[in-house]
Symmetry: C2
Subunit: 332 residues, 2 copies
């Protein structure tokens, strides 16, 4: 398996500042002088780094003394994702892998080693991607598969509030970047056009720390176009919904930024704002729902979603029951 | 085991630019206005981030409208190490771990996942640190234990040239930061005052790439003061040699920078300059030496060290023989 990240002989570190400066130009011509100043490069070094970006698949137009970014390929580059990211926790370290069994497992391995909170592991491909409750998660190339080590100081139920914060971040990022009307389906799916486009998962364990550690897994079907038979009628991708490719690096950065703001809120004990955003984007509130829990089914109307208590359902049998998102399956 | 990297509740991401600005002040007072501009912070955010650094053990003096960095503790923080590092390959990603069996094994795990060339893994502590030829490497807290994923395009013997480049980088960094006269003992030790203060190791395997991957392991006894009985007469640390602590984060950054320059030379096919630097710092050249290889001993005088052929020894039996650094033990 050849990694496209090292397509030419010798070191290929790209210049993250150069790329940021080109991207800031938003398709407009930028004078080489200004570009060089922004990137801390000049003359031959600027020219060499432009070539390096081209080697990675970036299309950079050129006229005497000026450059223009015409196309940014859908490559995941840790330096681009992290470069200039002003988040405080999420994405403080970014590891891009070619192929892992599961980004969650990779993140757990790093967490056991003592890697810092906020460390994110991304992979081009997962060979044994997992979803919630041990379900398999189809993770071919073209998707955004990532896991983040978290260690929040929050009194509320962690899985619930982290899933809420991440759901809001992913749904907002999809709306902003892909222009799709993404909604949140309790407990952990993101839908576009009624089909599942992303899923979230929180795993929590105690490793060598007095505080529990969580790993948040995020999977977004970004540019995937083929789905296995068994999920073809329920799954979709941003590319299928919009008719164009969405850059995964840009989506990852935006998710990091949006999640970071909400994560800091949670750590300050401010849970209500995230809960309100979640409800505003929910496709579940007010819907009739059937839930499978411990082998029993419950049917009713969703009347409220509480960040701490969980989903409040007015059952057909008359009373309101709360469901937390663990060990629960939404049947319909 | 408590990690000091998260001593307070909630996220503790330090502001790498703030710390860089404080360090650039070199113990002088810096106006809050200038500090804030350098760090992209103002007012309460500046004050909050100063507090975060203090929580990590940094001593920051304060007078109305100005600050001064009085003491930087010996903590390994990925953001500080990586922040503003202008290397092209080495340290492009930095993972700081609390405790691993071996940083080399951790780097191999990351390499198998497809992590990028230049990724560095550092650990506060190794529980099963390895040296060359499978020997145990004592790796308590206070040392700089790190491994770097490399994938050099070089026609020369990889283990030899990488060990040479890394030896020069480590010895130069020690001379510059600790002010000790570090020398290189073939094949892979760094000495101060005739005692071993650092060791290097290169492992090479083919994983999922057409080109072989190498992991360079570097261990420096920086602030360790206690050694096990069996190495007490041959090992030392920078703290023991200088009578003061050396900051491992600063040493790591300097090693990355010095190694990066030499690594790029090797990848351009320029091996001779590294070989010359290596020889100028060698404590082996011109010495009488006894080498154990395949159960036989060879005694003679070291007459040359060639980056490709290895150590050239004029044996007492009269002729000159070349020794590569693999599978060789220096007896005396």
């Amino acid at each position: 398996m050849k990694s496209y990240r090292n397509p030419i002989a010798g070191p290929t570190r790209m210049n993250a500042r150069l790329l940021a400066a080109l991207k800031a130009g938003a398709g407009q011509w930028i004078m080489a002088r200004d570009l060089g100043r922004g990137a801390g490069l000049a003359g031959l070094r600027l020219r060499r780094d432009v070539q390096r970006l081209r080697d990675l698949g970036f299309v950079i137009d050129e006229e005497p003394a000026r450059f223009r970014l015409a196309h940014a390929p859908d490559v995941l580059l840790a330096e681009e994702i992290r470069g200039g990211l002003d988040t405080r926790v999420i994405g403080r370290e970014v590891i891009v892998c070619e192929r892992v069994e599961s980004t969650n497992d990779a993140a757990w391995e790093l967490a056991r080693w003592g890697a810092a909170e906020g460390t994110a592991v991304l992979a081009e491909e997962q060979t044994r991607g997992r979803g919630r409750m041990g379900r398999a998660w189809h993770s071919p190339r073209g998707g955004l598969w990532m896991s983040i080590i978290l260690n929040p100081a929050t009194a509320a139920d962690r899985a619930t509030v982290l899933t809420m914060a991440a759901s809001v971040a992913v749904a907002k990022a999809i709306r902003e970047l892909a222009g799709c009307h993404a909604t949140i389906r309790w407990p952990n799916d993101i839908l576009v056009g009624g089909l599942k486009v992303a899923g979230l998962m929180v795993e929590t364990h105690t490793i060598n720390s007095p505080r529990e550690t969580s790993v948040l897994g995020i999977g977004v079907d970004v540019n995937c176009t083929q789905f296995p038979e068994e999920i073809r009628t329920v799954a979709t991708s941003l590319a299928l919904q919009t008719g164009r490719d969405v850059r995964r690096a840009d989506l990852a950065r935006l998710v990091f930024r949006l999640l970071d703001e909400r994560y800091l809120q949670l750590c300050r004990g401010e849970i209500a704002p995230v809960g309100e955003e979640w409800m505003a984007m929910s496709s579940t509130l007010g819907q009739r729902i059937t839930i499978l829990q411990n082998g029993r089914t419950y049917t009713g109307e969703v009347v409220d979603i509480d960040p701490e208590a969980g989903l409040m359902v007015r059952l057909d049998r008359g009373f309101v029951r709360a469901f937390k998102n663990e060990h629960v399956t939404v049947v319909k």
